[in-house]
Every structure is written in structure tokens, then in C-alpha cells.
């Protein structure tokens, strides 16, 4: 499956290539990772619901990451960076939980 293959490639790449993250990007990387994780879990849920669309996945992935990053950037500029970062993490966390519970329902439908 494409997603698993991509994850493996990324893991190996990240383990061997150790690039210096630009300092501008450093505060946003964790948020980006969490947002991407949310998009991935949403895609998994859609896959189990048999309504997976790769186009939607790609768009939701990119828009998730971008929105999260921009929100934190905005927060940093307004001086509420850490609070907004927490807010974004909380919301993404809720979404991850709901996606996981949906996936769980599909897996253990009985």
C-alpha cells in the first residue's frame, strides 16, 4: 500500500539523512507532524468506510498542515503562540481520537 510504503521511505530517509532544520521552521515542525498524522488517520478512516479518495486525502493533508502552521504562525505574531499551539494540538488530538474510534468500530464491528 502506498501510504505504508511512503511512511517507511520517510522513516529510513529521516534516520539516515540528518538535515538541519531551518530555524524559522523549527517551532512549526511538531505541529506539522501532528496535523499530517491527523490527515493520515482521516484517510484510514475513509478507507475503511470505503469512501477513500486520494484527491481528498492529498488536499486534506496539505491543507491540514498548512492551516496548523499558519495558525501557529499567526499566534506567534500576535504573541499568543504557545497558547494557540496548545489549542491546535488539542483540536488535532480530538480529531485523531475520533478517527481512531471510527476505525476501531470498523475493525471490531462484530
Amino acid at each position: 500500500m502506498a501510504a505504508v510504503l511512503g511512511l517507511l521511505i520517510g522513516l529510513i530517509l529521516g534516520a539516515f539523512v540528518k538535515p538541519d532544520i531551518p530555524i524559522v521552521l523549527q517551532p512549526y515542525l511538531p505541529i506539522m507532524v501532528v496535523a499530517a498524522l491527523d490527515a493520515l488517520l482521516g484517510a484510514a478512516r475513509a478507507y475503511f468506510e470505503r469512501s477513500f479518495s486520494d484527491k481528498v486525502f492529498v488536499i486534506s493533508f496539505v491543507s491540514n498542515v498548512l492551516t496548523a502552521t499558519l495558525l501557529v504562525l499567526l499566534g506567534n505574531q500576535l504573541g499568543v503562540g504557545s497558547q494557540l499551539q496548545t489549542a491546535v494540538i488539542v483540536v488535532l488530538g480530538i480529531r485523531i481520537f475520533s478517527n481512531v474510534s471510527a476505525i476501531r468500530r470498523f475493525l471490531f464491528r462484530g
Binding site: 521511505i9 540528518k18 530555524i23 515542525l29
Partner: protein, 271 residues
């Protein structure tokens, strides 16, 4: 909710319950609604669209790549911290520094007091050992050696030397500053007594026979003078008892005799 679950379960009910469960398990917040996927025909997405597949791979690779990088990025540099975070960090650090400084001064004062008491103890030990030596010599517990004189008093040709005169000799020596002395093998201490006895003298329970030898440690000149002074005890011995008195100065008078310390029955030290 609870009522529905307590109902008996038929296959139909179970379907209903699944439906309810789905509602109940839904933890989407109202404020952040999940975008619904539009329902579309099955199979379209599965069929080959190589570009989107590549995109999926790329995006997933990016995700795990970023994850691993963030994992490896242990050095949480201060550059990325916001101003207030840095302020808080400085505050915490300075509080910690103050605490450590206080602790350090506490420990330093403790160390000082310990050193002081150790010094005191060492001083006390020194004084105690000095005292032990001094009192050991005074009480005759320790043997002694040093500069002094050896006085020999022969048997008197006119009369036997009596205890009073001998005691006077010892007293004269004491006046002259003798430090340690012995008489015919008896250590002379403060409690030493002399008494007349048949054929000689009794000193601390021992019978002494002439000639009498007095070993005395002290200033040689003073001791010699004390004996030989005109009209002193030396001339009295010569004149009254007809005994010859010789005083030999020696640089190394050894007094190995010791007297066993007294057991005090009545006297007690005042605390």
C-alpha cells in the same frame, strides 16, 4: 442511553445499538466539524492514477520524515523559544542559583564550625597529653631522664643520718627547683615520707641503708648550690653526722624508678 442498553438484545436491536453507539462514540466537537467526504462511486480511487499514488507516497514520506527529524532534534535550542519562555527560564534559573547559593553558604558555615570544633578538639588533645606527661612526672608514674645531679651521702662517722636531716636535704632540693628525684631507688613524690628506722631510714615503706644516693633532675647549678651553700644542709651533714657529701653533676641522670599512683579514698575532684 442506559435504558437502551438494558433492553434484551435481538439481532435487530443490535443493529439499532450499533447505530446508537456510533452516535454516542462520536466525539467531534461542534465547533470543529469534520469535513464530510462526498460519497462517490467505488473503485474509482483504486484504479490507477499514478500521479496521486506518488503524491500519497510523497506526503506519507514527508510525514514520517518530519517525525524522525523532530525525534532526532534533541537540542532544544533557545533560539526558537519565545521571549516570555526565555524570561521564565531565566527566572527559574536564577531562583535555582539563589537556592544553591544559600545551600552553599549553609554548608560552608557548617564546614567552618566543624573545622573549628576539630581544631578545638586537637588543642584539647594536645593539652591533655601535655597534662598527662606533666602529671605523670609529678606523680612518679613515668620514668624520667635529663640534666641533674647525683648526691651521695655516706654513713655518718659521728652518728647515723637521721630522717629529719635527710628530709631537709630533699626539701632544699625541692626549693632549688628539682623536677624529679629519687632516693636509693625510691621515687620521691609529694606524698613520700621519711622516718628513722633501725640501721637506716624508712622511706615509703622501704628500709634504706647508707650510703644514700639522691638522684635529682633539675638545674645543675641551683641544685649544687642548694646542697653546698655555706651553713646549708650539706655542711650540717658533714659537721653534725660526719658523713661526706659528694655532688656530681651529670648531663644524663636517669630515674627509672616509678611510684604506683595513689588510690584516693576521700578526695574527689570537684566537677
Amino acid at each position: 442511553m442506559g435504558n437502551k442498553e438494558t433492553n434484551e438484545k435481538t439481532p435487530i436491536d443490535r443493529n439499532i445499538h450499533t447505530q446508537y453507539d456510533e452516535e454516542n462514540d462520536n466525539i467531534e466537537t461542534g465547533a470543529f466539524p469534520v469535513i464530510r467526504r462526498r460519497v462517490h462511486k467505488l473503485g474509482v480511487s483504486k484504479s490507477g492514477r499514478p500521479l496521486t499514488h506518488a503524491l500519497i507516497v510523497l506526503l506519507c514520506a514527508l510525514l514520517s520524515f518530519g517525525y524522525v527529524i523532530q525525534l532526532n532534534n534533541k537540542t532544544s535550542t533557545y533560539e526558537t523559544m519565545s521571549e516570555e519562555e526565555l524570561t521564565r527560564l531565566i527566572g527559574e534559573t536564577s531562583t535555582q542559583v539563589q537556592n544553591l547559593e544559600r545551600r552553599k553558604s549553609e554548608l560552608t558555615s557548617q564546614l567552618n564550625s566543624l573545622q573549628l570544633s576539630a581544631d578545638k578538639q586537637k588543642e584539647a588533645e594536645r593539652i591533655a597529653s601535655q597534662n598527662a606527661q606533666t602529671s605523670g612526672l609529678l606523680s612518679g608514674r613515668l620514668p624520667a631522664e635529663g640534666k641533674g645531679v647525683v648526691i651521695t651521702v655516706d654513713r655518718g662517722s659521728k652518728a647515723p643520718v637521721d630522717a629529719a636531716t635527710m628530709f631537709q636535704l630533699l626539701e632544699e632540693l625541692r626549693n632549688a627547683g628539682v623536677e624529679v628525684m629519687s632516693l636509693n631507688g625510691v621515687r620521691v613524690v609529694t606524698s613520700t615520707y621519711l622516718a628513722d628506722a633501725k640501721g637506716g631510714l624508712e622511706c615509703d615503706g622501704k628500709i634504706l641503708k647508707p650510703p644514700y644516693t639522691v638522684k635529682a633532675i633539675g638545674d645543675q647549678q641551683n641544685l649544687q648550690n642548694a646542697v653546698n651553700i655555706a651553713g646549708g644542709v650539706g655542711s650540717r651533714l658533714k659537721v653534725k653526722f660526719g658523713s661526706s657529701v659528694t655532688v656530681d653533676a651529670s648531663d644524663n641522670v636517669e630515674i627509672n624508678e616509678t611510684s604506683s599512683p595513689r588510690q584516693f579514698r576521700y578526695a574527689q575532684t570537684v566537677e
